[in-house]
C-alpha cells in the first residue's frame, strides 16, 4: 500500500540520496535521522546487549553511507537499511559463534504446541502505565527472551511496524514464514506477559492514575 505521505517521503529521500552522491555529503545526516531508532532496535533484536547494539547500529549506518550508490529505488530505503543492519549484526554473531546455539534453540518451535494465558479479567491496558519503569522492563525482558528467529520478526513487524511483506524482504524469508513466526511470537508474549502485567498493574491499583480506570 502506498499512501501519499509515503510517496512524498520516498521522493524526499531520492532527492537527498542524489544530492549526497553528487557531493553534498552532509545531507546524509538528514537522510538517516528518521531511521536511527529503527536501526538501533533492529540491532538490539539480534545482539541483546545495548552497547553492542549501538556499535552495530553505527557500523550499519556507516556501511549504508559507503554503499549508498548501490541503493536501487525499487526497494524502500528503510528496508534496505534494515537489511544492512541485520547483516551487520549477523556477521558479528557469526564471529562470536553464537548463531549455531541460537538456531538449535529454535528447533521445533514453529510447530510447537501452545496454550495461551486465559485471564478473563485482563482486558485493557492504559498506555499511561508505560510511564512506569517496571512495565517497560517486563516488556523488554519478554521480547529479549524470545528465540532469535521470533524476536527478529516481532521487532520488525510489531515494534518498527513494517508490513509483513517488508519484514519478509528485510529478513530474506518467505511471507508465510513471517506469518508463522509472528503468530508464535505473539502468543508466547501473550502467555508470558498477560499474567505479569495483570499482577503488576493490579498491585498499583490504589496509587495514582490506575485508580480512576475501572477495568483493573
Amino acid at each position: 500500500m502506498t499512501t501519499p505521505a509515503a510517496v512524498s517521503r520516498q521522493e524526499r529521500e531520492s532527492a537527498l540520496i542524489a544530492a549526497i552522491l553528487d557531493g553534498d555529503r552532509e545531507k546524509f545526516h538528514d537522510l538517516i535521522r528518521p531511521y536511527e531508532r529503527q536501526v538501533y532496535l533492529t540491532a538490539l533484536s539480534l545482539v541483546k546487549n545495548e552497547t553492542e547494539a549501538e556499535d552495530v547500529a553505527q557500523e550499519a549506518i556507516l556501511r549504508a553511507y559507503r554503499k549508498l550508490a548501490s541503493f536501487r529505488g525499487d526497494a524502500k530505503f528503510s528496508t534496505w537499511l534494515i537489511a544492512i543492519t541485520l547483516n551487520e549484526a549477523r556477521t558479528r554473531l557469526r564471529d562470536e559463534k553464537r548463531v549455531l546455539l541460537d538456531s538449535l534453540d529454535n528447533q521445533n518451535l514453529e510447530n510447537g504446541d501452545y496454550t495461551p494465558a486465559a485471564l478473563t479479567d485482563w482486558r485493557e491496558v492504559p498506555l499511561e502505565a508505560l510511564e512506569r519503569l517496571e512495565i517497560r522492563a517486563l516488556l523488554g525482558q519478554a521480547v529479549a527472551a524470545l528465540p532469535a528467529a521470533f524476536r527478529e520478526v516481532v521487532v520488525l513487524r510489531d515494534m518498527e511496524e513494517l508490513s509483513v511483506n517488508e519484514t519478509a524482504e528485510a529478513l530474506g524469508i518467505s511471507i508465510a514464514l513471517v506469518k508463522v513466526r509472528l503468530h508464535r511470537a505473539r502468543l508466547l508474549l501473550q502467555k508470558r506477559l498477560a499474567p505479569q502485567l495483570r499482577i503488576e498493574l493490579k498491585s498499583r491499583k490504589k496509587s495514582g492514575i490506575l485508580q480512576r480506570l475501572p477495568w483493573f
Binding site: I20, L21, G23, R25, E26, F28, H29, I32, R33, E36, R37, Y40, L41, L44, E50, E54, A57, Q58, I61, L62, Y65, R66, K67, L68, A69, S70, Y114, T115, P116, A117, A118, L119, T120, D121, W122, R123, E124, V125, L127, L130, E131, I135, R136, L139, G140, V143, D158, M159, E161, V164, K179, L182, H183, R186, L187, L189, Q190, L193, A194, L197
Partner: protein, 84 residues
C-alpha cells in the same frame, strides 16, 4: 463450522492482522461472541502488541544520536560514498 478454542487460538494473529479468509473470520467471530476465554486471549494479545509498539517501551541509549552524528561527521569529512 463450529470451532474449538484451540482452533481459534491458531487464527488469533491473522485475525488481528485482518488477513483471515472471510468465512473463517465469520466462524472465529461467532466463537468469540460466546467464549469469554478466547475473547480474553484476543484482547490481551492485542494489548501486548499495542504495548510493544509504543515508543516509550524501548528507548534509545542516552546520547545515542549525538555519538552517531559525531562519528558520521568524521567519516563524511574524509570519505565519499563508494562509486556504484
Amino acid at each position: 463450522m463450529v470451532l474449538k478454542c484451540r482452533h481459534v487460538w491458531d487464527h488469533i494473529s491473522d485475525y488481528i492482522e485482518g488477513t483471515l479468509d472471510p468465512a473463517v473470520r465469520a466462524d472465529v467471530e461467532k466463537h468469540l461472541a460466546h467464549c469469554e476465554i478466547c475473547s480474553a486471549v484476543l484482547d490481551s494479545t492485542r494489548n501486548v502488541i499495542i504495548l510493544i509498539a509504543d515508543d516509550r517501551v524501548f528507548e534509545l541509549p542516552v546520547d545515542f544520536s549525538k555519538r552517531l552524528h559525531a562519528r558520521l561527521d568524521m567519516v563524511l569529512a574524509t570519505e565519499s560514498p563508494e562509486p556504484g
